[in-house]
């Protein structure tokens, strides 16, 4: 469970978050949507206290993050995974090492680490790029490493900042499948910031719409479920031509 109580945040003059109250239930997949610059990322970053609110309280899994000692906070963060909008990979670590590091930090049983890393990289379809460095990856591949890293240590809460922004529909559907799966099977609470309506619609139970630092509305929806689509270039051609275009120019 995540609870934001009267959270406000300003950057110098600019008030990015204005007195927000929001409760996200245990096991929910919660969407946050809104225009660019509305404050979605900033709000999300409050949920693991990467952003310290000027005012208000943040509670996650029954712990008031805002009043924990730094040691307790560190402990609490180990069960809160985060996928960053700009990935924030370690440029000097390989794909494998980028994922493995989160297991080292959380004292994941040593013997199982390797398997877990490989498993997570399989989830995101990067099992063949273990030894590549971020600079050698495409945009979408980087994003997928970020996702694998956040999943690796089986967090109870997963904060996702536009996790599929650089991904093609197929990969997006696969990733959403993985998220839904860990939500269903392990009861992980997931918060997804996204501007892709389909993403939000297909897996969220509830969606918060933000506008200029405030919550405009919170909507309960029935996820349409993810359509795992044909993973081949034929799909694109079909999609493109079905709208009335002419094949083979």
């Amino acid at each position: 469970m995540i609870k934001l109580h009267n959270v406000s945040k300003s950057f110098s003059q600019f008030q990015a978050i204005k007195s927000v109250f929001l409760t996200i239930d245990q096991g929910e997949i919660h969407g946050i949507i809104g225009a660019s610059g509305a404050g979605k990322s900033t709000l999300l970053r409050h949920m693991n206290l990467l952003e310290i609110p000027d005012e208000g309280e943040v509670e996650v899994n029954g712990q008031k993050l805002t009043s924990l000692s730094s040691k307790e906070l560190r402990q609490a963060r180990k069960s809160i995974g985060m996928i960053f909008q700009h990935f924030n990979l370690v440029a000097n670590k390989t794909v494998y090492e980028n994922v493995a590091v989160s297991l080292e930090i959380t004292n994941f049983p040593k013997k199982e680490r390797k398997n877990r890393v490989l498993e997570c990289l399989q989830f995101v379809g990067l099992e063949s790029s273990l030894e590549k460095y971020p600079a050698q990856l495409s945009g979408g591949q980087k994003q997928r490493v970020g996702i694998a890293r956040a999943l690796a240590n089986k967090p109870q809460v997963l904060l996702c900042d536009e996790p599929t922004s650089s991904l093609d529909p197929n990969t997006t559907a696969e990733i959403l499948g993985v998220l839904e799966n860990i939500n269903k099977s392990l009861g992980v609470t997931i918060v997804i910031v996204s501007h892709e309506m389909e993403v939000i619609k297909s897996i969220c139970n509830r969606v918060t719409v933000m506008e200029a630092g405030e919550i405009y509305d919170t909507v309960l929806i029935e996820p349409t479920s993810i359509q795992i689509i044909d993973n081949s270039p034929r799909y694109y051609v079909e999609q493109l031509t079905k709208g009335g275009g002419m094949d083979d120019a």
Binding site: R77, M82, F84, V101
Partner: protein, 220 residues
């Protein structure tokens, strides 16, 4: 080999050995103490994970004090300390003490500067994982800053060699001192030039090695 070099062969080898001892110990000091000091200078800065104005100011002041001493006077000032540690204040071993202290102050600044170049996002990623300070340092900061560390150390080692030439003052010896005493003070210009050539080769090798390693470990 030029006759002059044959004539002084023993002395030259001895002085090369002395330089290696002095610079080697300085490198060790730079890595073992300068690296942590530089790391704390960075971590205790405003806005960083260990933000601590007090510790920062103390470290900053200490480093500045060492760096503001005329080197010769630092050597002299440290004589009682050197004597305490090593039982003597003259000779190659004794010369390593002031050199190491300079090395620490010098390298810690370069370490601090390299750490300032680590993208904030990487540190945030570490924090969000609940990484301990130790993990942030070793698994993130040092990994991202490592090529800067190597380049900084390369620059520093070359400075250490240059500093070591002053250690003749306390009988430290070394190639530079040899060049000064035999070459300069006894007007054996040819010998001096050979010594300088040896130093240039040494420095060139260190620079080449440092640049290569830093490029190899830089995957950005």
């Amino acid at each position: 080999m030029p006759e002059l070099l044959v004539q002084y062969e023993t002395e030259i080898w001895t002085s090369i050995g002395e330089t290696f001892v002095m610079v080697g110990v300085s490198i060790l000091a730079a890595i073992l103490i300068g690296l942590p000091v530089g790391t704390f200078l960075f971590l205790c800065r405003k806005g960083q994970v260990l933000e601590n104005q007090f510790v920062f100011s103390i470290l900053n002041l200490l480093v500045n004090i060492i760096r503001s001493f005329p080197f010769l006077l630092l050597v002299v000032f440290l004589i009682p300390f050197t004597r305490l540690v090593l039982g003597t204040a003259i000779g190659t071993a004794a010369a390593t003490v002031p050199l190491s202290i300079i090395a620490i102050a010098h390298y810690s600044r370069l370490v601090e500067q390299s750490l300032l170049e680590v993208p904030k996002g990487v540190i945030e990623a570490a924090i969000s994982m609940g990484a301990s300070i130790q993990d942030i340092i070793f698994k993130f900061l040092y990994v991202e800053a490592r090529s800067g560390f190597v380049l900084g150390l390369t620059t520093s080692i070359i400075s250490f060699i240059s500093y070591s030439t002053i250690m003749g003052v306390v009988g430290g010896g070394g190639i530079g001192d040899f060049a000064i005493r035999y070459g300069y003070q006894q007007f054996k210009t040819e010998l001096m030039i050979y010594m300088i050539i040896i130093m240039v080769i040494l420095v060139q090798l260190i620079q080449f090695f440092g640049t290569t390693v830093s490029r190899m470990i830089d995957k950005r």
